[in-house]
């Protein structure tokens, strides 16, 4: 009965109903957009920081040349390895990788996004591009499990094991394996694309196959043309350091190395310990990769993060105040109506329920409408090119697969999850609660005789 009466009130006071609903709708839309952006950037930031990991890069000074260097001693590397908090050392980067022709095998050409055939590739001649598109990307590395995609479980070994110097061979993707009906212990021939015509292909054993959840999306601004296929995570072939130097016909002297640390907190301590090792420190320099990556990318996410937080706080305070102001436009009418109810002998609880139900129903309608609207609102915010919010940089912050300079994946996804909906619900109840408490205050405090006079001025 009370519910029916509430509906009647909402229906009859249509002007008030529409104005309040629209107001609530705007309030909820902005609030919910803020919450969704906040949450999306929060999880994105965590992911970004995980992707960046905690690494130090030890490289020779840029003005020097490999021919003038002796290389890093094996003994040094094992001492680095035993520094506390060090997860591993990768001795290959950045140079020990290259395009290889997998003799007699096909490469994976599946992708989403733009058609690379229709994209110009100014950095390759067409012939080179076509050759590269049939190549796999051989990545030599002494710490494969520590690379982003394996460290973050986006790629997982499903068959066999990681190649190491003691277990030499290659690790290929399941896509590539299935396309060519390859199995563990099969032997494939790889030939470095830019080796001499007379050079022989190297035979290598498959020691591992990995499954990956990485998506290969080709962006509009892809400048590799069809050659981009080589960069597909499905065409990546990982191998140990020695095998890589053999196939790529490069000297296996270590000139640079990367140190993986368990947490960004411990980077300073590790850096200090590395610096104490007897290396030619006049020729080498330690780069805090985490910090520079952070400054380059993650701080932008932080900006989005704090801006969406600001949006939430701003809209909720301004919105609630605005709502209360507009709500109080009809206060005299409302006080008089409550007075009428009291004169008719209606109970305190019933009167309260009518008005609480009223805001509850309006809020729910507004909240339901605000969810899809927020979706468009976020799109709008991200498309108006306001870099503080969802800047295009964010789209390209993380390349899940280290391809060097070009941008592949992942797209910044706005996801509306249960937690965001729950927060919206809490916000709805907060509004209802505030009006309920305000009303309770009014009911308790006012004298009936005065309440009945309230309508007179309006």
């Amino acid at each position: 009965m009370i519910f029916r009466r509430t509906i009647l009130f909402i229906e009859r006071k249509h002007r008030e109903t529409v104005i309040l609903t629209v107001l609530l709708f705007l309030l909820f839309s902005f609030f919910f957009s803020g919450v969704v952006m906040y949450q999306s950037t929060e999880s994105y930031r965590d992911k970004a920081l995980a992707e960046i990991g905690a690494t130090l890069q030890i490289s020779y000074l840029p003005e020097l040349d490999e021919s003038t260097l002796d290389g890093v001693d094996q003994n040094i590397l094992s001492r680095v390895q035993s520094i506390p908090h060090v997860l591993g050392v990768d001795v290959a980067p950045p140079s020990l990788s290259g395009s290889c022709i997998p003799l007699g095998l096909k490469t994976v050409k599946t992708h989403s996004g733009f058609n690379p055939e229709q994209q110009p590739s100014p950095i390759y001649t067409d012939e080179e591009a076509r050759m590269e598109s049939d190549c796999v990307d051989l990545i030599g590395c002494s710490a494969i499990p520590l690379r982003n995609q394996f460290r973050n479980n986006m790629s997982v070994i499903s068959d066999g094991s990681f190649p190491t110097n003691d277990n030499p061979g290659v690790l290929i993707s399941r896509y590539f394996a299935e396309l060519n009906s390859l199995r563990i212990n099969d032997v494939i021939s790889l030939k470095y694309l830019y080796s001499d015509a007379s050079a022989m292909a190297s035979e290598v054993k498959i020691v591992g196959i990995y499954d990956t959840t990485l998506k290969f999306e080709i962006l509009e601004e892809n400048d590799m043309g069809v050659a981009v296929y080589k960069a597909s995570p499905y065409n990546a072939v990982f191998t140990d350091f020695d095998t890589a130097s053999k196939i790529l016909d490069r000297d296996n002297t270590v000139y640079n190395f990367k140190v993986y640390v368990d947490s960004p907190k411990n980077l300073d301590a590790v850096q200090e310990a590395v610096q104490k090792l007897p290396m030619e420190w006049d020729k080498y320099k330690i780069y805090n990769e985490t910090l520079s990556f952070y400054n380059e990318y993650a701080s932008q996410i932080d900006t989005v993060f704090s801006n969406s937080l600001r949006l939430i706080i701003l809209t909720s305070t301004v919105g609630i105040i605005l709502f209360m102001v507009v709500y109080s436009i009809w206060n005299n009418q409302r006080i008089r109506d409550i007075g009428i109810f009291e004169v008719l002998g209606e109970s305190y609880i019933h009167i309260l329920m009518i008005y609480v139900f009223e805001t509850l129903i309006l809020s729910f309608i507004a909240a339901v409408l605000s969810v899809p609207t927020s979706y468009f609102l976020i799109q709008f915010i991200s498309q108006t090119n306001s870099p503080e919010f969802v800047s295009s940089n964010i789209i390209n912050i993380i390349t899940p697969y280290d391809t060097g300079e070009y941008d592949i994946n992942p797209v910044y996804a706005v996801s509306i999850d249960i937690k965001a909906l729950l927060l919206l619900l809490i916000f709805v109840f907060m509004i209802v609660g505030i009006t309920g408490v305000a009303l309770m205050f009014l009911l308790k405090k006012s004298k009936l005789q005065e309440m009945l006079k309230a309508g007179e001025e309006s």
């Binding site: 009965m1 009466r5 009647l8 009130f9 009859r12 006071k13 008089r336 109506d337 007075g339 009428i340 109810f341 009291e342 004169v343 008719l344 002998g345 209606e346 109970s347 305190y348 009936l448 005789q449 009945l452 007179e456």
Partner: protein, 222 residues
């Protein structure tokens, strides 16, 4: 029906409005109360419906001392008000206004909607007016709705505070005739506060409230 025993009241404990008022009202009779402005007529009505409580003295309705009852209960089951400015929900229709009062007083009544309609028709609110929001009705029509709202509850006491004060003479007369007629028909006790000589002559009893005391009682009963 209603027994007021030596009731005194003041709003601010300084200036007393009513001083030792004692009076009885009975069922099926109409009463008018008159007196100068500010003499406490409205205050007396408010006391009878439990809107305010006396400083001293007792008010009994149907053998209940209303000091022991919740004001809402009194207004739900014993006393209905009719106001000078009608006090209807302006955004609801005539029928809905009356229906709400009926639901509050008799929530489990069967066929209540029919009863509401009949009552409104009796008061001259025809089918098309029934469905109009009351803010679009004339003053006379609104007060008829107000009377219907008071009668529909089944409460034995009607308290009308200058019910025709906002109406022109002819309309006021019509409305008053109806009110008195229906009061008799439904066997209510009706107490009307009024400045109008004409109304005074139509009620069974007429009381003067002056200086906080009910001073003079005229009888029009033959």
């Amino acid at each position: 029906m209603i027994d007021i025993k030596n009731v005194s009241f003041s709003y601010d404990r300084k200036r007393s409005i009513l001083q030792g008022v004692s009076v009885s009202f009975s069922q099926g009779k109409t009463y008018s109360i008159f007196g100068p402005s500010g003499s406490g007529k409205s205050t007396l009505l408010a006391l009878m419906g439990g809107i305010i409580t006396p400083d001293s003295g007792e008010i009994w309705i149907n053998d209940h001392n209303i000091a022991n009852l919740d004001g809402r209960l009194i207004r739900r089951t014993m006393v209905s008000y009719i106001f000078q400015d009608y006090l209807l929900f302006p955004f609801l229709t005539a029928q809905e206004n009356v229906e709400i009062a009926r639901e509050i007083s008799n929530p489990h009544e069967n066929n209540g909607g029919e009863k509401t309609r009949k009552l409104l028709n009796e008061l001259g609110i025809n089918e098309s007016l029934l469905r109009k929001q009351v803010r679009y009705l004339s003053g006379g029509e609104q007060q008829r709705v107000g009377i219907a709202r008071a009668l529909v509850t089944g409460n034995p006491v009607l308290l009308a505070d200058e019910p025709t004060g906002n109406l022109d003479k002819a309309t006021a007369n019509d409305v008053m005739q109806l009110l008195i007629k229906l009061t008799k028909e439904y066997n209510k006790c009706c107490i009307i506060v009024t400045h109008s000589e004409m109304i005074r002559s139509q009620t069974d009893y007429s009381l003067l409230l002056d200086n906080g005391c009910l001073k003079q009682v005229e009888t029009n009963l033959k």
